[in-house]
Amino acid sequence: MSRLRKEFLKGIIISNPVFVLALGLCPALAISISIDNALGMSMGVAIVLLGSNIMVATLRKIVPNAVRIPVFIVIIASFVTIIDLLFQAYFPPLHQSLGIYLPLIVVNCIVLGRAEAFASKNPIFDSIADALGIAIGFMLALLLVSFIRQMLGTGMLTVFGKELLRLPGLASHPMALFVLPPGAFLVIALLLALFRRMGVLKNE
């Protein structure tokens, strides 16, 4: 049990996909302009990651080595397409705001990375713990980046259309740079540096 807990917890900080492994930066940079997007994106990634880790771990002993990667990609692409259709049917506004980044989960290196590096070598339950940990780590990273960008870039915090917080002064003169692409690079670079400074990387 403690082994599962270890696999689960490592994804959150020690090998946080965004800040430590530096994987999945493309969606992290692109969609981290609002908390809504961060939640929707990490939900999509979590479901795909969980599904693909389970499938890959189940098939790991019978997949011929030569076609390993194509098989993983087919599994991942199927899950992504299913998620895309389900979001379109049941969460249309979220589907709209994630736009192209939802189908692009298929090329998110976190998902293939975990399939190849972990699920193809470990039993199912370890792979589930790994998927959940990494997914939560990804979600926390996206939430942190989105929170900073939304606060500085618009001066307010809105979640699903509800205004939770408004910074006086900043709301009327927001630092729009932070919701633009350069802001994404700045915020993520500073957070990466911070994680490094705090010595999170020491154990790697």
Binding site: A66, V67, P70, I75, S78, L85, P92, P174
Partner: protein, 186 residues
């Protein structure tokens, strides 16, 4: 010899099988969600039209023009158009009362910069189109009646231009449609 063959055959068969299963699962999902997705899209259009025309009872869609009925009277027309914004296409539902007057507009989807361009979705901006005559649909700085958004001229102008140009185009189709309808009744 036999093992060499199975060395080649096994990966091929395995991958084919995986793809076959994946395709079956996907087509099942597609079938299962198809109707809901269509319903969602219809519901979205209906609620958008209702927001533009609160008196709407039914509507009819033909040649990319929505004709809006309240009881049996035609109270206006609506159509979808899109403008080229700063971050991509801006899809707009435009309502017109008659050949010269706008009823209102709603932004359906956009990818403009949050805090700047995406303020085109705010009420004060979209409601400033209501009741305007088509010849006034320009930004104030271009001699029209609409306040642009500070710092987001491209987005504001994209909306204004798309609405005006599409409306000019669409009103040409209206008189014919009305006549055709009257002809049907005879």
């Amino acid at each position: 010899m036999k093992s060499a063959l199975s060395n080649y055959a096994r990966p091929i068969l395995f991958l084919t099988l995986v793809v076959f299963i994946a395709v079956s699962v996907l087509s099942l999902t597609y079938q299962a969600t198809k109707d809901t997705i269509e319903e969602q899209q219809d519901a979205k259009i209906k609620s958008t039209l209702q927001e533009l025309f609160p008196a709407l009872d039914t509507y009819e869609y033909q040649d990319s023009l929505y004709t809006i009925y309240s009881q049996d009277d035609t109270i206006g027309y609506a159509f979808l158009t899109s403008g080229k914004g700063y971050g991509g296409n801006i899809d707009i539902m435009v309502g017109i009362e008659n050949e010269t007057t706008l009823k209102g507009i709603l932004i359906i989807s956009q990818q403009e910069t949050p805090g700047l361009g995406n303020r085109i979705t705010e009420d004060w901006f979209t409601s400033s189109f209501a009741g305007l005559s088509l010849s006034d649909v320009f930004l104030k700085k271009d001699g029209g009646a609409i306040d642009g958004i500070t710092g987001a001229t491209i987005s504001s102008r994209a909306v204004v231009d798309a609405v005006r140009e599409a409306a000019m185009e669409k009103i040409k189709a209206i008189p014919e449609r009305t006549q055709a309808k009257a002809g049907d009744l005879e």
